[in-house]
């Protein structure tokens, strides 16, 4: 038993080392003296004397503490001197010591991680915790995480420690994560908040594991003894997760999702603890979200989207335990409301979920079982709470509410609710939109446009009205608060909404419905169903008249055009007796565009043989009349367009026009004539194409015979209808403003404006007569006609080709004295007739005769030929061509030449109608004698007439 006994050969060696260590360690603890020799002794003890392990580690604690303390001192000195960086180096001795310690410990850990890692990690975590909380207040003044991270990571000692820690943890992570995360959390709790940088660093090394583990540890802590929100580790858990979530958000989300899904698993092996944890998961997650907005965001990204009513009902089974954590149902509801309002994403999902519970989307899902009824009533209650809280918040503060912001970003998910058959959904959506509108008024137009496009029933449309009311109240609020300073008017909202609806490139919705909906709305407005004084619908329609015009004028979509027309008619056509609106009428430009497109629309309808076309034409007429009354510019444009289209560019065949190959076609064919070819032609060498000498009645030399007119294939009935419609249109354009006021209307008063009809006749002259010269009213001498033969022929031919012209003239003739202005046309026809009749020998051309009759009737109708000349049309049937020539020359032409057909001949009667008193200026015998003699010659046929005319 002597210390010097042989078996103890190595003993004293170790013992002396031990002694020197103990003396050194107890001394250094007091003096704070660092000695590399000591450290080496300690390390060798650690390797050789297992019993000394704890003590050696404890000694290292003080060693590191010393070093860090010196480091911090240096940092302080450096910062006092003003140098910014933390480049404070340790002494070489310290560096080597740390390196050696680090190496040895790392060797241990890597040699048998299962055994050493728990010990070392616990030690290093504890040490780090102590160090950071001890020196935190001295070194970092700001407490910003990144700054303290930089400070500590630039210290060799702490860096080594962190390195050791991560190495341990990476060993442990594989099989004993639980305890190591627990250690981390415990330390974190103990040294809050100075320990955060360690967690941050460690967490970034193993984000997924740390997150998952921290979550599960937190959950355990949360549900142990029903601690709930008072759980000690909760704050640390939140901080760590919050930090990690900001840098590893996808991992965070996955971890949260995993935890949540785990909570829903129904495992076969169900022990009470697990079940309790599963049941507490949701309150735990909610609590996390409550404490950290970052976590709330993460939570609202993935977990939220897995929620369905089915899962909710699954959760309901767990919910019995929940209330205990929050101290009552109301507190829990408050928390939920608060969380929901704080959700920066996923608001639509939440909303859908609540609504699904509160108001099932289809009647089939209406709850039947008592549980479902409870779910529903709870859902409704919660919804109400949520909305109330929202409104409260909005009226209290200006701050953005994340829920609303998120909802606004996903507005398209809210909008369909507006059209839901469930009242609750509609109302909720309306309120929400109202709330959103407070912050961004642009929501209203979007909503309006959505409803306008999608509405299918009147109930849907009534939403628009509610939206407008809603906005009105909102607007009031805004004005009060004077937030934007630019309150948007109702009409403006509707108008913006309408514009958006119109420009929405959404192939599903057809604009037809939109216009139909507009019509309905307008009708409501008209009938006073909309309690709104300033007629927003009308304003909105006026503002979009440009778009309306383009839809109206394009023949791509007849249905659309019809719908637009209907709306416009309703908007523009003021019913008799209606109060004039305060709404500013469309501008001149709009009126002109509208006129133009209405005419296009008219012709489009004309092409439609069905009843739809007919109705469309009538609509167009209504529009035209309304437009014409509103603006004379529109009137004249409409008239001109109508006529031009009817005569030349439009579907003339529908109005009975005979197709022709006109000269242009002929000339076009001959444009590529080559001189050489021409020269090679046999014949007179100086005969050139298109010279007067080459053009003959029957055709052009070189081009063969002139083709005959192609007969129109349109059915006469249809032509008749079309002509009537066209005349209606013209008549609509000419309507007099008197009809606006039916009270002053007396029977017999002209409903058409004479000036307009005159303008029609002038227009006709302009369009038909190719010359501008000699278009005046007077009829020249017969010889004078020779100068105008070509023009007369041209006019005559147009009249032949376009029967509608006759109808128009007829119409003009009725509106005396408008026909006077068509004098040139009549003159041309007369002149050509005279020429033609004279070239006929005995044969009475029926076509010629009918033209003659038409002309004479026209003259009579327009009161240009007074009685008895007005009866010539009945006479000519019995006359020979030569006699007809005589009549036309002596009676018609000469009379007209001597009595210039001028409006001055007409006088106005008491009703304002113009009339030529034929009793006053009877034609002299020099005009009637020829007629009388010819009648006498044919007295067997014309006896009765003769008696009427001359036998007085």
């Amino acid at each position: 038993m002597n210390p010097s006994m042989p078996p103890m050969m190595k003993g004293p060696d170790l013992m002396s080392e031990l002694r020197s260590f103990i003396s050194g360690a107890t001394r250094s603890a007091r003096k704070g003296h660092m000695d590399i020799g000591m450290a080496r002794v300690a390390l060798s003890l650690l390797k050789t004397l297992p019993a000394s392990r704890e003590a050696v580690l404890e000694y290292f604690c003080s060693l590191f503490d010393d070093i860090v303390g010196r480091y911090i001192e240096n940092v302080e000195i450096a910062s006092q001197k003003g140098s910014k960086d933390h480049e404070v180096s340790l002494s070489a001795q310290e560096e080597t010591t740390i390196a050696e310690v680090h190496n040895v410990i790392c060797d241990f850990v890597s040699s048998s991680p299962e055994a050493w890692a728990p010990i070392i990690s616990k030690w290093s975590l504890q040490l780090l915790g102590e160090l950071s909380s001890r020196y935190a207040c001295r070194a970092t003044h700001t407490g910003v995480l990144s700054e303290s991270l930089q400070l500590w990571m630039s210290c060799r000692a702490t860096r080594s420690l962190i390195d050791i820690t991560t190495q341990c943890l990476s060993c442990l992570m594989n099989f004993d994560t639980e305890s190591c995360i627990n250690a981390l959390l415990d330390t974190c709790v103990a040294h809050n908040p100075h320990f955060d940088w360690v967690v941050a660093h460690v967490g970034s090394c193993f984000p997924r594991t740390v997150m998952t583990r921290v979550l599960s540890c937190g959950l355990k802590d949360f549900c142990s003894n029903q601690q709930g929100p008072k759980a000690p580790k909760l704050n640390s858990v939140v901080q760590i997760l919050g930090y990690l979530a900001s840098s590893h958000s996808s991992d965070m989300r996955r971890a949260l999702l995993q935890l949540f899904q785990w909570s829903l698993e129904k495992s076969k092996i169900s022990d009470a603890v697990t079940i309790h944890q599963q049941n507490s998961t949701v309150p735990f997650l909610l609590q996390l979200a409550n404490l950290s907005s970052t976590l709330l965001r993460s939570l609202s990204m993935d977990v939220l989207h897995t929620l369905t009513p089915k899962i909710l009902s699954q959760l309901a089974e767990q919910s019995a335990d929940w209330l205990a954590y929050y101290g009552g149902r109301e507190a829990f509801q408050d928390l939920l409301v608060h969380l929901v309002l704080g959700c920066p994403t996923g608001a639509p999902t939440i909303l859908a979920l609540i609504l699904d519970c509160a108001a099932p989307p289809s009647p089939k899902l209406i709850p039947t079982t008592p549980e479902e009824v409870i779910v529903q009533s709870n859902g409704q209650e919660f919804l109400e709470l949520l909305l109330q809280e929202l409104s409260l918040l909005l009226h209290q503060s200006d701050g953005n509410i994340p829920f609303l912001v998120s909802l606004r970003q996903e507005l398209k998910t809210v909008l369909p609710l507006l059209l839901s058959p469930m009242r609750l959904r509609v109302q909720s959506a309306l309120r929400l939109i109202g709330f959103m509108g407070l912050q961004s008024p642009s929501v209203f137009p979007i909503a309006v446009s959505y409803v306008l496009v999608k509405a299918e029933t009147e109930e849907h449309l009534s939403v628009v009205a509610k939206l407008l009311e809603n906005q009105a109240s909102t607007n009031g609020n805004i004005r009060k608060a004077n937030r934007t300073g630019l309150p948007i008017e109702h009409s403006n909202i509707l108008q913006l909404g309408l514009e958006q609806a119109l420009h929405k490139k959404d192939d599903k919705s057809s604009p037809v419905d939109l216009w139909k909906n507009l019509t309905t709305l307008l009708r409501w407005e008209r009938s006073g169903k909309l309690t709104n004084c300033c007629q927003p619908v009308l304003k909105a329609i006026y503002s979009t008249i440009g778009t309306a015009c383009s839809s109206l004028g394009s023949s791509v979509d007849p249905k659309l055009a019809h719908a637009v027309a209907e709306t416009l008619v309703l908007a523009l056509v003021q019913e008799p007796g209606e109060n004039p609106t305060s709404v500013t009428p469309p501008s001149i430009q709009d009126a002109l565009r509208l006129a133009h497109s209405t005419v296009s629309y008219f012709f489009m309808c004309l092409e439609d043989e069905g009843s739809k076309g007919f109705e469309g034409c009538q609509l167009a007429c209504k529009l035209l009349s309304r437009l014409s009354l509103r603006s004379s510019a529109a009137r004249s444009l409409a008239l001109r367009t109508l006529l031009e289209l009817a005569l030349f560019h439009g579907p003339t065949h529908l109005l009975g026009a005979k197709e022709l190959l006109n000269e242009e076609v002929l000339t076009a064919e001959e444009t590529d004539i080559r001189l050489m070819d021409e020269n090679l032609k046999q014949g007179l060498s100086w005969v050139l194409a298109q010279r007067h000498s080459s053009v003959f009645h029957a055709g052009v030399i070189g081009s063969g015979l002139r083709t005959l007119n192609i007969e129109n294939t349109t059915s006469p009935v249809l032509i008749q209808r079309n002509i009537q419609l066209f005349l209606d249109a013209v008549r609509s354009c000419c309507v007099s403003s008197a009809i606006l006021d039916p009270s002053t209307m007396e029977p017999g008063m002209p409903t058409l404006s004479l000036d307009t009809v005159i303008s029609v006749s002038l227009l006709l002259v302009e369009l038909i007569s190719p010359d501008v010269m000699y278009n005046g009213l007077p009829w020249p001498d017969e010889d004078g006609c020779k100068a105008t033969v070509e023009r007369d022929c041209s006019i005559r031919r147009k009249l032949e080709q376009l029967p509608i012209l006759w109808e128009l003239l007829w119409f003009i003739a009725l509106q005396r004295p408008a026909l006077c202005y068509c004098s040139v046309l009549l003159r041309a026809v007369t002149a050509t007739l005279i020429a033609q009749w004279s070239s006929c020998s005995q044969y009475r051309n029926p076509g010629l005769l009918s033209t003659t009759v038409k002309l004479l009737s026209l003259l009579a109708l327009g009161q240009l030929l007074p009685s008895p000349l007005s009866s010539l049309r009945d006479v000519v049937h019995y006359l020979k061509p030569q006699e007809i020539v005589q009549v036309l020359q002596k009676c018609v032409w000469n009379y007209m030449r001597d009595n210039v057909p001028a409006p001055a001949l007409f006088s106005r009667d008491s009703h304002g109608n113009m009339w030529r008193d034929s009793t006053q200026d009877l034609p002299g015998p020099q005009y009637t004698e020829t007629m009388r003699l010819l009648m006498l010659a044919n007295i067997e046929d014309l006896g009765e007439l003769y008696a009427q005319l001359f036998d007085n």
């Binding site: 038993m1 078996p7 103990i22 360690a25 004397l49 019993a51 003590a55």
Partner: protein, 447 residues
């Protein structure tokens, strides 16, 4: 000898920790160790001694009775101090000559040791004991180790405290610092009694059916060391039987019966091939229980993990089991034989080495294993895989050998009939020729 009174505590309070512990040790020794008169200490004296130990040596409580704790360095200091004290190093010149020096020294030392660590030792003090013994092993402190050996035997090698101690030592030397194992090689020669008891405890620690899925095999390093010990020192396992404890114990104590490690170590050897197959089977079947949320104890995990590693290493070289077991088995058998037919002349061959009951306890786990294997097998009719069959054969052979040698060497004590009946129950297992022969040989007809 002046009477020791309460005022002693006052005087002890005057000095700081390391010094006061030193002085307190002397006082405690004075109180506990019977003086020349042979009068055992009174109950009052023992109480005082206990209080002094708690307050001044282990510093578990302060003067007002509140609990406190030493720092780790101080704990180390205490361990070193105890080592020194037991090794008989004299403290300063003023201290009284320790009574443990001298012919009666061992007894006094053991008395003090047993008083310091009574069977009702608290957790912290048990920890201190581990540290003390661990340090004693490292520093080859024979007195401490001897006392520990006796302490172990007196408390019973399978008692909780002793198991705790063994666990701590295994952790120190075989798990954490395997490099320190070299220090253990001459332990059998240094402190055979301690080593033998340590073996017994360790054999129980790992040999018992700890969990439902089988047995926890010992760490590889431990197995290696144990094998080496047993094969190098044939009489090591008998060491506890050889020592006569009575003179070493405090006055009036009754020496406890020694338990040899044979049965426990035989169990290791018999069960190891079975364990190897079920492990490999498990590995093939994929990971069975992921400990994702399981709240399993860390320590268990560590142990399992290390054992896994050891076995896997073994798997790689020899697919069935670690060859060390064969060596260990052989060494054990040789030890038994050596006892009866000593190679070197010895006066006393020891009887009653192995308890029959103890040996028979191996039968049950084998049967359980067989039932489980059969249940797990997918084939119809249910039978063992080739691999399992071979393992079972090996296990039964080893069992047969152990039984045969134990019986033949006349080392077994207890009801042999019981052992044979137990072995009989293995009949429905695939037949082992050796086992049958063993049974046949020893089956004494009842009639």
């Amino acid at each position: 000898m002046q009477p020791i009174t309460m005022s002693e505590k006052q005087s002890l309070r005057k000095s700081e920790f390391p010094a006061c512990a030193r002085e307190a040790l002397i006082k405690v020794e004075q109180l506990c160790v019977p003086q020349a008169s042979g009068r055992p200490p009174s109950a009052k004296e023992m109480d005082l001694a206990m209080e002094i130990m708690a307050e001044f040596i282990f510093c578990e409580v302060d003067r007002r009775g509140h609990s406190r704790k030493l720092t780790c360095i101080q704990q180390l200091q205490l361990a070193q101090l105890l080592c020194d004290y037991f090794a008989g190093v004299q403290f300063g010149s003023s201290g009284p000559q320790g009574a443990i020096i001298g012919p009666n020294g061992d007894t006094a030392r053991n008395t003090l040791f047993l008083s310091l660590f009574p069977p009702t030792t608290s957790k912290n003090r048990a920890q201190a004991l581990v540290q003390l013994v661990s340090m004693a092993i490292s520093t080859k402190n024979k007195p401490v180790l001897d006392s520990t050996g006796i302490w172990m035997q007196q408390l019973g090698c399978t008692s909780k405290l002793v198991l705790q101690l063994a666990e701590g030592l295994v952790k120190d030397y075989f798990v954490l610092v395997p490099k320190a194992v070299t220090r253990l090689q001459d332990l059998p020669s240094l402190a055979p009694h301690f080593t033998a008891n340590f073996l017994t405890t360790v054999a129980e620690m790992y040999g018992c059916p700890e969990q439902k899925d089988g047995f926890s095999p010992p760490p590889a390093a431990l197995l290696e060391v144990v094998t080496q010990w047993v094969s190098d020192n044939p009489r090591l396992c008998l060491a506890a039987l050889v020592v006569n404890l009575q003179p070493l114990l405090p006055l009036g104590s009754i020496p406890m019966a020694a338990l040899t490690p044979f049965a426990g170590l035989f169990k290791w050897c018999v069960l190891s091939p079975l364990l190897a197959t079920s492990k490999s089977r498990k590995a093939r079947g994929g990971t069975a229980n992921g400990s994702s949320n399981g709240s399993s104890d860390g320590k268990v995990n560590v142990k399992k993990e290390s054992s896994d590693n050891g076995l896997h290493n073994g798997d790689q070289t020899i697919p069935k089991e670690c060859p060390l077991y064969s060596r260990l088995h052989l060494a054990l058998l040789e030890s038994l034989v050596e006892n009866v037919y000593p190679s070197v002349h010895r006066t006393n061959s020891v009887k009653d080495v192995v308890s029959v009951q103890h040996l028979a306890s191996i039968v049950e786990p084998v049967q359980n294993w067989y039932i489980k294997q059969v249940m797990m097998s997918e084939s119809k009719p249910q039978e063992l895989t080739q691999e399992a069959h071979e393992a079972l054969e090996l296990a039964l052979d080893r069992l047969g050998q152990s039984v045969q040698v134990a019986l033949a060497a006349n080392c077994a004590y207890g009801n042999k009939q019981y052992l044979l009946t137990q072995l009989d129950t293995l009949k429905h297992l695939p037949e082992s020729r050796l086992l049958r022969i063993v049974l046949k040989t020893h089956h004494t007809p009842l009639f």
